[in-house]
Amino acid sequence: MTTEAATIGLTHSGSEDTGLGHRGPESKSIVVPYGFWLFVLSDMVLFSALFATYASLVNATDGGPTTNQLFDRTLVAIETLALLLSSFTCGLAMIAAKRKNMNLTQIWLLVTGLLGAVFLFIEFYEFAHMIGEGAPPQRSAFLSSFFTLVGCHGAHVTAGLLWIGTMMAQIWAKGFKEHIVRRLLCLSIFWHALDIIWVAIFTIVYLIGTLP
């Protein structure tokens, strides 16, 4: 009797605890970043397909230049440093936002964006240099896959810069409203994910590629 009464809600109020903590829909502050995480995961899958392509074409140089002849470790080291630092400053911006400190948030976001721009600039320089040296993506399957993998990451960074700019304007105009802070959180997830992907690129493409 009592269990049946419970089933139609006569005897108890609130939800039954199923032991799994399912007490109804989660709040937006959980749902939004969760969904964004899933999106980032699908982006990771996208990059893994590009990595697989690179790995299977890295030796298909068609008589053209090979990894060792093209990559410059120092340049890439500076590039990497800039991006890693930008992840750090992005973290600082998040902390500032949490404390609702407008000036610091803006400054750290700006620094993050500038470091991202430095990264992009170096990448751009590297690409231009390679193309000038007769190693454009059209030269061989290896170069096609190199430019695509690294360029796709670069395109993501560019999108990130646009996003940082938009976010800065939004925070400036609207302050630290709940949904704005949520967006900022998504942005930082995105930015850190780009860092992780870059570490993989750095290792698989540049480090392994410049082994003697």
């Binding site: 749902v31 899933l38 059209q138």
Partner: protein
């Protein structure tokens, strides 16, 4: 000129080809007529506010299904043209289609059927059903849901535009290189294919993000994982597959675009390119895609089996584990699509065995449905017809699949009509039957009245008989040596079989016509078949708890879930105690507002896509800038939600309780 119009010239319009020209004219006239009709009846504001800009998952689901049905007609028109050609062009005769045209038709048929019929149909059901079954008010991201739909529609639009302006790919539905490279396919056909699929692919990935989040994070209180209906489980599995597989498709098509547009060398014959890389990549997506479609179909069968057998689903947990097993194994079998690549005996053997292993969880499911029916009070309704027809058809289709998974056998029948027969058998017998079953099953929930049973059964028999006539002979023809994609049939002795196949296709066509008749007839006689109770089939899951059609907030209060079969338990207890759940404390409800952002996104996507296809670069750039502007504009707005006042909620809910109480009395009297 070429700066302004790119590759677009007057030659792109097929003035000299009667078939596409007449089709274009007819389609344009029909679209115009419908537009005028809607306008004249004053339905436009309703259509705009309640559908086009709607963020309501039910409305979006319906739009997906309408899109799928329209595209089914298009895909079927292609199919019947192919069958007609193949039954005419035998021996000395060349039939009525040139090879150029025929190749476009089979490519369009395959592409449209998979991407714009099966996918939107399945996603439409997920949209309509999953939030209701989970006992919640909407998906996690309602606005994004609208955007996803419109991006899919934009892809469909571009594919159909290729009929009127330019041409479609002649490369088959997966556009294998090197044939699809610029060197061998210089026209815009492959570009239409690539761009349309990229745009709709973005929509599909967004859908998967939305549904995985919804199912994992947004459920009614008490709805733990092992209380979710099987359709929700299979939807979850399917969306996880989309999340993991569709980005690979995006990459694959993206690389081919780079080859075609910027002279890269991924899959070309020269420059170190490797076309087998494309095969591997595309099938890493392609095989899971089969299960992206099949798993929700299995979910529909599970709902149908339980409801119409009047019993809980047999082996609920084994069904869930079988679903997850299929989900994982489906990523480990892609190589069976090209055993002939020459990867070596051991690799072929491993992939062959892995492919057969998928048969085991699938077999588990078949037994579960059988045991659900066993000992139940089975009602032979239309959905039940499809379930039984499916089990008969699918078992044979699965067996020929196991045959194909044996590498030596595959070497013999690879790319033959045997393969064509196999995949149509699983996709029509498995997926299309499920979609038709679901259409009949959930129609009253969506519109408040049931579909006509007699006509529904006629449709079923058309599909069932028509399918077997249209494809069984292909197994034989495959053994005789008939390869797929033949515009001309060299061996006159195959003629009788091909004529039989044409006849089968005509019967399927009759089924499609009857579907329309059934719909019109049911609308006309809807007064006699109204679903006042909201529970026309004596259902077991939460969508039958609410009204038909449900209010846009679905439930006045989120239902409290106790045990598996949330609604059934509740209903039985209420009948026994002759009492409904205590009247809850009604609250005002916050619902997302409708938004034009999806349509605007799709507009820019279509313009941009069209510009890229025709190399009209200024327009493409303009489109991108426009899209970014919309994005910023949308992000700038503060989130809007509109509030349904508590009085409205209460009045509706009280009315609903009155009806349910009457319904309960009638049920308890009948038992």
């Amino acid at each position: 000129m070429s700066v302004i119009f790119g590759k677009l010239t007057w030659d792109a319009i097929p003035f000299h080809e009667p078939i596409p020209l007449i089709t274009s004219a007819v389609v344009l006239a029909a679209v115009a007529a419908i537009a005028v009709w809607v306008w004249r009846n004053g339905w436009w504001p309703y259509l705009r506010d309640e559908y086009i800009t709607s963020t309501d998952h039910k409305r979006i689901g319906i739009m997906y299904i309408v899109l799928a049905l329209l595209m089914l007609v298009r895909g079927f028109a292609d199919a019947i043209m192919m069958r007609l050609q193949q039954s005419m062009a035998i021996g000395a005769s060349q039939g009525y289609l040139t090879p150029e045209h025929y190749n476009q038709i089979f490519s369009a048929h395959g592409t449209i059927m998979i991407f714009f019929v099966a996918m939107p149909f399945v996603i439409g059901f997920m949209n309509f059903v999953v939030p209701l079954q989970l006992g919640v008010r909407d998906v996690a991201f309602p606005t994004m849901n609208n955007v996803s739909f419109w991006l899919t529609a934009s892809g469909a639009l571009l594919i159909n535009l290729s009929l009127f302006i330019g041409e479609f790919a002649r490369t088959g539905w997966l556009a294998f290189p090197p044939l699809s490279e610029k060197e061998f396919s210089p026209g815009v056909g492959v570009d239409y294919y690539l761009v349309a699929l990229q745009i709709s692919g973005v929509g599909t990935v967004l859908t998967s993000v939305n549904f995985v989040t919804t199912i994992l994070k947004i459920r009614a209180p008490g709805m733990s994982y092992f209380r979710m209906p099987v359709f929700c489980w299979t939807s979850l599995a399917s969306n996880l597959l989309i999340l993991a597989a569709f980005p690979v498709l995006t990459v694959t098509l993206g690389l081919l675009m780079l080859d075609r547009y910027l002279d890269f060398h991924f899959f070309t014959n020269d420059g170190g390119g490797n076309s087998m890389l494309y095969m591997n990549l595309i099938w890493v997506w392609g095989h899971p895609e089969v299960y992206i479609l099949a798993l929700p179909a299995f979910g529909i069968y599970s709902e149908v089996a339980a409801t119409f057998s009047g019993k809980p689903l047999f082996g609920y947990r084994s069904m869930v584990f079988a679903t997850l097993a299929i989900c994982i194994i489906s990523f480990m079998v892609w190589l069976h699509h090209f055993f002939t690549m020459g990867a070596g005996a051991n690799i072929n053997a491993i992939f062959g065995i892995a492919s057969m292993v998928i048969g085991i969880p699938t077999g588990v499911k078949i037994y579960n449905w059988l045991f659900t029916m066993y000992g139940g009070r089975v009602r032979f309704t239309v959905p039940m017809h499809y379930l039984i027809g499916f089990m008969l058809t699918f078992v044979v289709g699965g067996l020929t699949g196991v045959l194909l998974a044996i590498p030596p056998v595959d070497f013999v029948v690879h790319n033959s009509l045997f393969l064509v027969a196999h995949f149509h058998q699983v996709i029509i017998g498995g997926v299309v039957f499920a979609l038709m079953a679901g259409y009949t099953y959930w129609f009253p929930k969506a519109f408040g009245f049931t579909l006509d049973e007699r006509l529904g059964k006629a449709v079923f028999w058309c599909w069932f008989i028509g399918f077997h006539l249209a494809f069984m002979p292909s197994y034989l023809l495959g053994f005789y040596g008939a390869t797929r994609r033949m515009q001309h049939i060299p061996d006159p002795s195959w003629a009788p079989w091909l004529h039989l196949e044409l006849f089968g296709a005509v019967i399927i066509g009759a089924g499609i016509v009857l579907t329309v008749v059934q719909l019109l007839y049911s609308i006309k006689t809807r007064e006699q078949r109204l679903d006042v109770t909201g529970d026309p089939w004596d259902g077991r899951t939460l969508e039958w708890l609410t009204l038909s059609p449900p209010p846009h907030y679905n439930f006045a209060v989120l239902p409290d879930v106790h045990g598996e079969e949330a609604y059934w338990t509740r209903k039985q207890t209420a009948i026994k105690m002759d009492q409904l759940i205590k009247e809850p404390d009604y609250q005002p409800i916050e619902m997302p507002v409708s938004t034009p952002v999806g349509v605007i996104c799709a507009f820019f996507a279509s313009v941009c896509g069209f510009a890229v296809i025709w190399h009209i670069w200024w327009l493409a750039i303009l489109g991108l800038i426009g899209a970014f502007a919309v994005f910023v504009w949308y992000a700038w707005q503060d989130e809007h939600e509109h509030i349904v006042p508590v009085d409205e909620v209460r009045t509706n809910a009280r009315e609903r309780r009155r009806i349910r109480m009457e319904h309960l009395h009638s049920l308890s009297q009948s038992t």
